[in-house]
Symmetry: C2
Subunit: 131 residues, 2 copies
Amino acid sequence: MIKVGETASLTKKFSESDVRTFADISGDHNPIHIDPEFAASTRFERPIVHGMLTAGMISAVLGMQLPGPGCIYLKQELNFRAPVYFGDTITAKVIVIKTREDKPIITLETSCTNQDGTTVIDGEAILMVPK
Amino acid sequence: MIKVGETASLTKKFSESDVRTFADISGDHNPIHIDPEFAASTRFERPIVHGMLTAGMISAVLGMQLPGPGCIYLKQELNFRAPVYFGDTITAKVIVIKTREDKPIITLETSCTNQDGTTVIDGEAILMVPK
């Protein structure tokens, strides 16, 4: 039985190679991720990691740890708060904030922070939990 | 000037190799994506593509086409409506549903559908648009 307050996390460092690979498999070749010259002309100044690649770590924590394999992802809200740069070490954390008595559905607060403690993504997830 | 009703889309087929690569770069080795035997024991019956990899196509359309390079991703809501299987051909589509006069911020309806026309993801995105 999953309870409010349960938490899990995962930490990973993103490389330029991860970003180039994600561009290839997702089709997202936005120059902000792969063209240093273009990136230099933006407020971010340097290429940034795709938000959906960083968000993949939230999915990883949910699917592998809490609630773990067999859960069904119903909804994810992602607020992109700050850029993730190549070489940043990101920690994805999830906390159960709501459970239901009538249905096997839980809500979690989900966030990613960088090595400086800056929140880069936050939001909530809703999942169906295996019995 | 971006107007309500403007639309853009992108189509891509996902392979087993894409999914295994995404598992490696995101850290999401949930067996539902990579273990056919485990997947057979679930309601999905076969391995499914990571939701965040499919959602990467939405980011691709936004970042490459509408509003295009230089836009800043503020928020994405993802409702996972149906599974995506290896070999499925997914079309991501975005439609501008709201613009603001006071700030360079737009809201888009975002969705991914499979080759049968089934909606696999829907939701909304909010972006800041380059001037």
